[in-house]
Subunit: 443 residues, 2 copies
């Protein structure tokens, strides 16, 4: 009988893989008696691990087998920012930390929904005249907010997701018990409405032709496809959600990458959205805050459940009971982001990543692939030729041939099969080097 599990640990991002030593229990257990608590059956439904740690695991395994390649690996995988935080925004963070050492500047618990200053600034700078400060909930990030939204929605709702999509929508729906088991043939969970998004429909879901759902998750600019929805598309989606009585959860985490006209940066630019939509957003990609952790969610006062309860009230209960506010240091950084100097710095940062996206697009096109996204988004979505096999095979082949880490489209749901996602968040020289290797290996 094994005394300890010695689980291997996957470190995402750039950190190294460091397996832990098995533990020597203080008093050797005579048996590994399981407690009498049943495992939550919803967790048994989850297949495999969360996508990004799995990418890290495969990268690590490759490096264990090929340690000489360690310095050659370039990540175009997880959408993780790599450029330092610019000066003005940094001064906000440093100042936020420093003042905690003074009697006047010290602060403890704040409002669980965020500092009023920051809520007002988000409302004023990003949603002027559309959203009030009280409708903005500041948090530690969009991913965490999606879980908190699910917590509020509960087990009885039916969710609709774009296929492919950011895995958190589906995984949290499964955890909450909204779904049935996964179908081993389609690789889809029962009780989730999968809305195909392919090159044929411009990667925008045709919700009208799908069964009604209570909650519709829509991400634009999209992760992973890089598609940015037009105003026309969003008008139609809001109209549909209104007609069908659905709540639209709009994930706008990549909004600052939008440079095209007629591509809304917020769902609340669409008339009527205040009656049906929630917007989830984040400073992660705005200002390189992926590790700093700051986001927000907007819930308009208009939005109500069928019994008339404002959705905002229940979300406020989740925030105050199950969350304790984003770090006061980090919120000080958020305030700096939204000053004019901070906004300028953000523009420069985004320009840099958009430049990377352009290089990736042009490279993959020059190889002869069909390429999507990467214009108003940091992700380039590449259609793989059938000769590459499935997208996990292509991921592995590219890793082995070029030491470039990508993300297989299938990792974002069955609809992503046959595609590869490239992230533009790497440093410029790495992007250029990766492109040269890809050209050599794939042409």
């Amino acid at each position: 009988m094994k005394l300890s599990l010695a689980l291997s640990f996957v470190v995402t991002g750039a950190s190294a893989f460091v397996p832990q030593q098995p533990l020597t229990p203080r008093s050797p257990a005579t048996s590994l008696a399981a407690v009498g608590v049943e495992r939550n059956p919803n967790f048994a439904k989850l297949i495999g691990g969360y996508l990004f740690p799995e990418i890290g695991r495969r990268r690590t395994q490759y490096l264990e087998e090929n340690p000489e390649m360690k310095d050659r690996v370039i990540s175009l995988g997880i959408g993780d920012t790599t450029q330092p935080i610019p000066e003005y925004i940094l001064s906000g963070l440093v100042g936020g930390a420093s003042k905690l050492g003074t009697k006047e500047g010290y602060s403890g618990y704040g409002n669980e929904a965020g500092m009023l200053d920051l809520r007002e600034k988000i409302a004023d700078k990003l949603y002027k005249g559309i959203i009030a400060a009280e409708e903005v909930f500041v948090s530690d990030g969009a991913k965490c907010d999606i879980m908190r939204l699910q917590q509020m929605f509960g087990a009885k709702v039916i969710s609709a997701v774009q296929d492919p999509s950011y895995p958190v929508y589906v995984d949290t729906s499964v955890m909450m018990g909204q779904t049935g088991e996964i179908d081993s043939e389609t690789n889809q969970y029962k009780n989730i409405v999968y809305m195909p998004c392919t090159s044929e429909n411009g990667f925008f879901p045709d919700y009208a032709s799908m069964p009604r759902a209570d909650i519709v998750y829509l991400c634009s600019p999209n992760n992973p496809t890089g598609a940015a929805a037009t105003k026309e598309q969003l008008v139609e989606m809001v109209k549909l959600c209104k007609e069908r009585g659905s709540i639209l959860v709009f994930d706008a985490a990549y909004a600052p990458f939008i440079r095209s006209k007629d591509v809304p940066k917020s769902i609340f630019e669409i008339e009527g959205a205040r009656d049906v939509a929630i917007e989830v957003n984040s400073f992660s990609k705005y200002a390189g805050f992926t590790g700093v952790r700051l986001g927000w969610t907007v819930i308009p006062n208009n939005l109500k459940f069928a019994d008339g309860t404002p959705v905002r009230n229940d979300f406020n209960r989740v925030m105050s009971t199950a969350f304790n506010g984003a770090s006061n240091i980090v919120q000080a950084g958020g305030l700096a982001c939204l000053d004019d100097d901070g906004l300028k710095e953000i523009d420069t940062l985004i320009d840099y990543y958009l430049g990377n996206a352009k290089i990736l697009r042009e490279t993959m096109e020059s190889i002869g692939y069909d390429v999507y996204g990467g214009i108003d988004a940091p992700y380039v979505f590449v259609k793989l030729p059938e000769s590459m096999g499935g997208s996990w095979d292509a991921f592995q082949t590219i890793l082995e041939k070029t030491q470039v880490v990508t993300i297989p489209g299938a990792g974002f749901g069955p609809g992503g099969e046959g595609y590869l996602r490239l992230s533009a968040f790497a440093p410029r020289d790495s992007v250029i080097e990766a492109c040269e290797r890809l050209k050599k290996a794939l042409v």
Copy 2:
């Protein structure tokens, strides 16, 4: 028909009450059609708001009616730290922020369960030889971790709580759908095991005489009673949980206040605890990180659900899917806390608050009240004479007579009725001033 809700906003802690302007929607809605999504019925079961915002609301209301008292209010209410972060620990936070501005020091997404350095340091400094780094999950705080544990446990478990207790255990159980409706007579939710903790049983629950629960929440040193469980009591509790197949969730957030011998600082000092216990912990009270946000949860590899699944695996899934790691800046501060210089600073801080607790104890005793806690804990729990009425009445009377904010015991569950909690986290001069006023008003 009202067009906007103009919800009033309660700001906890020292911040001011700032009601928001009602919003003017961009396009006046012609109707406030509710969406067709049913409200999660578990949220309808929750009675009232979360406790601490409610305290803030009453304080605010009092000040609106008595604006001349604004500068006289002293809070012995919410357990919110007030002393600046000491120099060495602060340098960890400032350094953690500053280095994000450099190419070499920048970091994005980290492991969702925390930086390996910090996990190792927590294991080494606080659980040496008992707990391995891989069993430590770093987070943004104990409150948030309790919700994530509930997320993992799911809707089907029965929870047992101390009565009175920190409200988050019960509220999150209700949110998860583990409970029935509240009983308007007992003020207890159906399907929760309330374990009375009163002066008669030394505020330690007699779990053996209660129905079996899947999950037993135990907080020591206790919030709100200030009782610190002895080794003997914890040995018995671990034994009972093992016999009954319960998981013990041990909330050790106030452990650094323990100065007495034979009072364990961690449940893992108890033999066999690795088979049955989870420990939730936090830097909030260690180092004044209430606003900074850093905590951790320990899940030993030994702990398994009835089907043999390691509990740690499912918690890792929650952390990686529904959380994105504590802020890298804040984790740098956590590392500093656990250096020798940081640990010394923490001791000095805790001494200061324990000094406050002593003053509060002695004052309330001198008035003639029965007083509990405040020795190995920052909370003093005062038995109210019947002449004061219920604990909410006493709260109100004391606020009006002395402008001292306390917390009524009933806010922590029906078992807290007849008691008042005083927090030792105020500045020393405020504590002394509050005590003088209480003596005058209550003698």
